[in-house]
């Protein structure tokens, strides 16, 4: 038996707990955060319950159906165009008045609405009492009390939603905001103007369309023009006449007057259903903000938090990283002993383990970093960071809000670039997208740790902090340049809500970490594994190489000559001489492998790249590693693992292999600078394309960052050489 399917949309103000309820209903683990704009794209989940297949849609938060930014447009368009069977309006009970504003607008679209009075527990502690029965009666719609984070009332909510979807109530007759005489007059005149003309068929319900046109809603106006064609222009003209009329009558723009009237309607409802018992309310968040956003203390505290985040990532991450490292080594050695020599063994040890193993050890660091970012998000500190960074962001003509994507960029650029949807100005968005990749993402972290760990062992933490910091500085400089050239624009009016501070839910933090680990392991099993195999194959073939010297003959002759020496020494010095022999053979062996590597396919690719990277102090292996980093930044480490490890006989760690190569601390630094700036990974490039919707900007982003990377690394390396480092 096929189930009947229903679509249920979750709408509501930002931070009213939509995603928490969504997760509770669907059992999925969407990311929940405590800052406006966590959900920037609608999310779908399907559950079977009570004999129905329920498609639940989690919409981005909106304050009204008058959208200002992209994520708000996403939410409105879904409700309007997809016509869900039921819209559940999640109402923050402690912010009833404002929540009802969106509710009155949802009612105006004539869709079936159900209220979930969420966070009723918070409201109760604030001494707020809401008469739900009365509210339900006044607005003529079902209401369910829910507590999202304790998943109370969720089943009842679903039951009521199904009930409502199956009922055939006529929503158009339900109680709506009635505007004053003059506005209603204009609405009915416009309605008869439209109905007189049978050619006009509006894209949405008539009353709602008229109201939106009177409110000068640009998107609705365009849709009407598109759908109705020439007649549409007449409608718009007629609306314009009424707009002027009303504006003169009320001495204000009609949208403002209508908004006031809606609030008037709400005030009437509130009077009947809303009571506060205690007058004296203590707002803890306000008190915390007095300190954390303080004009003197706020910023230093913020810097301390960021510093602490990186310190935790490195110092605490070292221990589990060592355990993993030992594990990988043990695995590699025991596999070496178990398997007979073959191409497969070579592939497993020098390809897969060298490639994947060299990256997987960084899982703890990455988890700690994401844990810290999740803490910022869930406590509500994220928006405060945006406020504190505002002064600095203003240097490039951006609001502090643009710093939220940048801070997320420390984790991963893909969600960071998606997060720019909360920015209202198109130019601000593009500018933020262009500079966000300079925030070192977690995939670049392994590269830094490997290189600093080897070449700057004692000062590793500080060097990495400097690299991150350099990323921020360069982002700001580049932003400043673009702002004054390509993306000129004035400051847009700015207002952002600061969510209340909340104690983060352990469940939510675990979801963050689990998601991240899953993604990381998936990457390891997928793109990194394949990449490692490809790189190994390219470096291990062709098998039959024409060597410039006959190594085997040379080794034999060396062995023979030492053997005679051992015999001559008559057992006295034999151990010492044997050591010498081993060293001589190892040297020859290394030269042979090095030549083999250079003549492999990989080596040939590397040779082509070599001239590009030589001025940066990076050899062909490094060049190849950087090239493979386009697929995913972790692969840079994998490639280095495969290429450098294959050469150094006896040194089974990348550390020894790198130390014995030509790389110096200076060239390592140049390489890190290059990694910091050069083109983002393929997933990020795809996201940039999707979010800017422009091929031109994507190409620009890739080109300028790579050019900048080359120039910066060149300056570091050549400058350092001149200084004699």
């Amino acid at each position: 038996m096929s189930q009947k399917s229903l679509t249920i949309a979750l709408a509501g103000n930002p931070n009213s707990g939509k995603t928490t309820i969504f997760n509770n209903i669907t059992g999925t683990r969407q990311k929940v955060g405590n800052w406006p704009g966590v959900t920037v794209e609608k999310k779908e989940g399907i559950v079977s319950k009570y004999g129905y297949e329920l498609k639940i849609i989690d919409l981005p938060g909106t304050y009204s159906l008058t959208p200002f930014s992209i994520e708000e447009i996403v939410a409105r368009d879904f409700v309007l165009d997809e016509c869900p069977d039921v819209v559940i309006d999640i109402i923050d009970a402690s912010n009833l008045e404002r929540s009802l504003y969106l509710a009155t607008q949802l009612r105006e679209i004539d869709c079936k609405v159900l209220f979930a009075l969420n966070m009723a527990d918070v409201a109760r502690t604030r001494g707020i009492k809401i008469d739900a029965d009365k509210l339900s009666e006044l607005l003529d719609l079902p209401i369910v009390f829910t507590i999202g984070n304790k998943s109370e009332g969720i089943d009842e909510l679903l039951k009521k939603a199904i009930e409502l979807a199956e009922s055939d109530v006529d929503t158009s007759g339900k109680r709506k905001v009635k505007y004053n005489k003059d506005i209603e007059n204009s609405i009915s005149k416009l309605r008869s103007f439209i109905e007189k003309n049978s050619e006009i068929s509006l894209p949405y319900k008539t009353r709602w369309t008229i109201i939106k046109l009177l409110e000068n809603d640009k998107i609705v106006r365009e849709r009407v023009l598109q759908k109705v064609g020439d007649q549409g222009r007449n409608v718009i003209q007629e609306v314009q006449i009424h707009r002027e009329l009303l504006a003169d009558r009320f001495n204000d723009d009609p949208e403002i007057v209508m908004t006031d009237e809606r609030y008037g309607f709400i005030a009437g409802i509130l009077k009947e259903v809303f009571t506060t018992i205690t007058k004296q309310r203590i707002d803890i968040s306000r008190n915390i903000d007095l300190v954390l956003t303080n004009r003197f203390i706020g910023f230093p505290v913020f810097i301390f938090f960021i510093w602490a985040m990186f310190q935790l990532t490195f110092s605490l991450g070292v221990y589990p990283m060592e355990w993993l490292d030992t594990g990988v080594n043990w695995f590699s050695v025991s596999l070496d002993g178990l398997l007979p020599d073959s191409l497969l063994k070579d592939l497993l040890i020098n390809g897969v383990i060298a490639g994947v193993g060299s990256v997987i050890v960084f899982l703890p660091n990455i988890l700690i970093l994401f844990f810290c970012i999740a803490l910022f998000e869930d406590t509500g500190y994220m928006s405060r960071a945006a406020f504190l960074m505002d002064r600095i962001m203003h240097l490039i003509g951006l609001h502090g809000k643009s710093f939220i994507p940048m801070l997320m960029g420390f984790g991963c650029s893909v969600p960071a670039i998606m997060a720019t949807r909360t920015l209202e100005s198109e130019k601000d968005r593009i500018l933020t997208i262009l500079i966000t990749p300079f925030m070192s993402c977690s995939a670049k972290l392994p590269i830094y740790i490997v290189l600093t760990g080897i070449f700057f062992s004692a000062k590793a933490g500080n060097v990495i902090f400097c690299i991150y910091f350099a990323g921020i500085i360069i982002a700001i400089l580049a932003g400043r340049l673009f702002r004054s050239t390509l993306l000129r624009g004035a400051d847009a009016p700015f207002v952002m809500e600061l969510p209340p501070y909340r104690v983060p839910m352990v469940k939510s933090l675990i979801i963050h970490m689990w998601d991240r680990s899953k993604m990381f392991l998936k990457k390891m099993g997928g793109v990194i594994l394949i990449g490692s195999v490809v790189i190994w194959t390219l470096s291990a073939f062709p098998r039959n190489i024409q060597y410039s010297r006959d190594y085997i003959a040379e080794i034999n002759s060396v062995r023979a000559s030492y053997n005679t020496e051992i015999i001559a020494a008559n057992g006295l010095d034999s151990q010492h001489i044997e050591k010498k022999l081993d060293a001589a053979i190892a040297e020859l062996e290394m030269a042979r492998k090095s030549e083999m590597m250079e003549k492999s396919y990989m080596g040939r690719i590397g040779k082509i790249l070599a001239p590009v990277f030589a001025p940066l102090g990076i050899d062909w292996r490094g060049g190849v590693a950087l090239l493979t980093g386009f697929v995913a930044k972790e692969i840079v480490v994998s490639t280095m693992g495969i290429l450098y490890l294959a050469e150094g006989e006896g040194s089974n760690t990348l550390k020894n292999a790198l130390l014995s190569s030509d790389m110096t601390p200076l060239s390592a630094l140049a390489m890190m600078v290059f990694v910091l700036l050069y083109l983002p990974c393929i997933a990020t490039v795809a996201t940039i394309k999707q979010e800017t919707g422009s091929f031109k900007w994507t190409l620009f982003s890739v080109t300028y960052s790579t050019l900048l990377a080359w120039v910066a690394a060149f300056c570091v390396y050549q400058g350092g050489k001149i200084l004699g480092l």
Binding site: R98, Y101, A247, Y263, R286, T293, F387, L498
Partner: protein, 230 residues
């Protein structure tokens, strides 16, 4: 008489320039154009009529901008709002009396007339000393009247709010878009707010009820507030 009239207009324009610049009002050039055209009108105009006149003179301006400018002009005493029973709102040029000097309160728009013979004489002396033949004079002193000063009832912009100051929102200026944003986010006239952080530059933090907002400086300038009495 005609010349006299023009003289008045020139002087008013000077005052307009001085006052608007002193108060750092944005888009000065456009607002000045609105003022110039407004001065040329003889009757009571509505915003749309004025907009049409501006159009005829080749200025393409937005109606909500013109309305905002007219409101500012009322605030500074250049224009007066009138509305006949249920009709549209009209604005008229404020014709000030000829025979008196005036003190004009920019906050409550109250006009205080005064006459001082000493001052009159002094003006004649000054003009005479420079060989200037005086035909007519008009003396207007702009400021805040004693009433407004006493009760501190003048709305100030939110930008001036200090940390911990308890205020109430009195009005919004500026375009409809910005105001809609504030309204839908739950910031309305009559709301009581507390200053949380107000740096000398950049954004500020305010608290309304149990909500907190970050507001950009430009937008805060458009929110008019008054100290709250307890």
């Amino acid at each position: 008489m005609k010349q006299n009239h023009n003289n008045n207009h020139v002087r008013e324009k000077e005052q307009f320039k001085k006052l608007f610049k002193q108060e750092h009002i944005d888009n000065f050039e456009e607002r000045f154009k609105v003022f110039e055209i407004f001065l040329q009108t003889k009757r009571h105009v509505t915003v749309s009529e004025l907009l049409e006149l501006l159009n005829e003179n080749g200025y393409q301006l937005d109606s909500s901008f013109v309305r905002d400018t007219l409101k500012l002009m009322c605030r500074f005493g250049f224009a007066k709002k009138i509305q006949f029973e249920d009709g549209p709102v009209r604005y008229e040029h404020r014709h000030l009396g000829r025979h008196h000097d005036h003190m004009i309160c920019t906050k409550c728009r109250n006009i205080i007339e005064f006459e001082d013979q000493q001052l009159e004489n002094l003006q004649i002396q000054i003009a005479a000393a420079r060989g200037f033949h005086m035909l007519q004079h008009k003396m207007e002193i702009y400021g805040i009247c004693s009433n407004c000063l006493k009760t501190r009832m003048h709305p100030m912009s939110l930008v001036m709010a200090k940390q911990g100051e308890r205020l109430i929102i009195k009005d919004f200026t500026g375009g409809a878009g910005a105001r809609m944003r504030l309204l839908t986010m739950g910031l309305r006239v009559g709301d009581e707010l507390d200053g949380i952080t107000s740096p000398s530059k950049g954004q500020m933090v305010i608290a309304v009820d149990c909500r907190r907002y970050v507001i950009g400086r430009g937008l805060a300038q458009k929110v008019l507030v008054e100290p709250r009495k307890n």
